[in-house]
Symmetry: C2
Subunit: 267 residues, 2 copies
């Protein structure tokens, strides 16, 4: 049963005289018309070079994702495709494509013949995500130290330079820096698959959605300590610090769950 589409091997891709010559097809696309939420969509974390540029699909994907992560579309809320498509100025087809992707990312749930609703990221899920991050980021720190060039280390040491415990700073900017900091390690540890896994599962973004878990005064010192240990290429110390850093935030979320569980019991 030889299927006839098996014959259509792609041999002519990347030919000269196309607008894709000599470039990776993973290149990102720019849709300047959309104004991004800087925090949630900082270049490092979600230019989503995973995705291709089905222009309107990409537009819808980004916009809807932004709406979900910024709580403009609320958990449990049903997304009425006609209305949302109208609002975005596109037809339902690309919107539905975008929703398929968001469903694969688990940000949205499709119920057959009912529609698509926004998923809720429970605190329990946040704890679970933290456990995954701890496992993966510790691995990333280890590998990063092993393979990082001096140049990479130097660039890494620039993180949080502009933040000072003395004078107050914008917490949104701080959170953005936090995201970039963690992503830098992930993206430079020599494991491309890891980067993709983080993007696919929104491991960083999902947690960021609930805002800062601990005050910068606390985490800034930890970040600095991690930077120091990595600069010294002290693997055991860096891994321990990174683990502790995430573990502490996770613990706070666990405490919150505990508190709310007790409150429920006591009425």
């Amino acid at each position: 049963m030889a299927m006839h589409y098996l014959e259509c091997i792609a041999i002519s891709f990347g030919k000269p005289n196309t607008n894709c010559e000599n470039s990776s097809y993973n290149e990102e696309i720019n849709l300047n018309s959309i104004s991004f939420n800087k925090l949630l969509f900082s270049k490092e974390i979600s230019e989503m070079n995973i995705l291709s540029a089905n222009e309107l699909t990409t537009l819808a994907y980004r916009k809807v994702k932004e709406m979900i992560l910024s709580d403009e579309l609320k958990p449990g809320q049903k997304i009425v495709q006609d209305k949302l498509a109208l609002d975005l100025g596109i037809s339902r087809t690309p919107l539905r494509s975008a929703l398929q992707i968001l469903e694969a990312e688990h940000l949205v749930q499709s119920i057959p013949r009912r529609g698509v609703i926004v998923r809720k990221i429970s605190d329990q899920k946040i704890v679970e995500i933290y456990d995954c991050r701890i496992a993966l980021e510790c691995m990333a720190v280890r590998n990063f130290i092993e393979i990082a060039t001096e140049k990479q280390i130097l660039k890494f040491q620039k993180f949080f330079k502009n933040f000072d415990t003395e004078k107050p700073f914008d917490s949104k900017t701080y959170q953005e820096e936090d995201i970039k900091f963690h992503n830098y390690i992930i993206e430079n540890c020599g494991n491309e698959f890891l980067t993709r896994l983080f993007q696919q599962g929104n491991l960083v973004l999902c947690i960021s959605q609930i805002g800062l878990i601990r005050p910068p005064s606390e985490t800034l010192l930890e970040h600095r300590a991690i930077i120091q240990a990595i600069g010294d290429r002290d693997i055991p110390k860096a891994v321990a610090l990174a683990e502790d850093h995430l573990e502490k935030s996770k613990f706070l979320v666990m405490e919150k769950i505990e508190r709310e569980s007790l409150r429920k019991q006591n009425g």
Copy 2:
């Protein structure tokens, strides 16, 4: 700028008198008409309760995924949507939806206005996936031992019961058992997010695609040792064994990369 679709909160879901009463919407759907590749699509690993039952989309998703993982659709090959849709007996719309999902899973790459091609999973990627699996599965083993009930342990100890080093056995069946074994730990360690991450990233399936890396005679003993250690609830030992088990396979793939790299240099 209050958007009008914000008002359409889904409140009436799960009403009685519908055919969805009292049931989770995550329930799986059965499309008996499709014959699955048992190995690649064993119930445990990919009934994909993540996905909703857009019936034809789901059908296309499964079928195309199976075709990719079984090498019926080969890496680099272009998927001509018209032809494939015709072959599957559906229109391009649900096929395209399926391809969107597969792209999010990175099994396929979409190039704007050119088409969709099947991605190649390089040996280098396999190594990267192994690193992620080592980090995550060690965490899973630890948590599984901590929370597993006696019943779960007992069920777990049944794995590989029917395999004997003395008499030969079907390697496909063995690989299937291997997949189930690893998935059992992942799915019972109390971290639902982890399960999803494995499904989303195809962490187990991608590696299985290249077939058995080491002979069962070797891995069977390791599997048994892990089972033993978990049965004893010996966390350090179990984690060490699990890590070693994966690390050994990873090492073989790394050696293969090395060999091929040398062969290339020497012509």
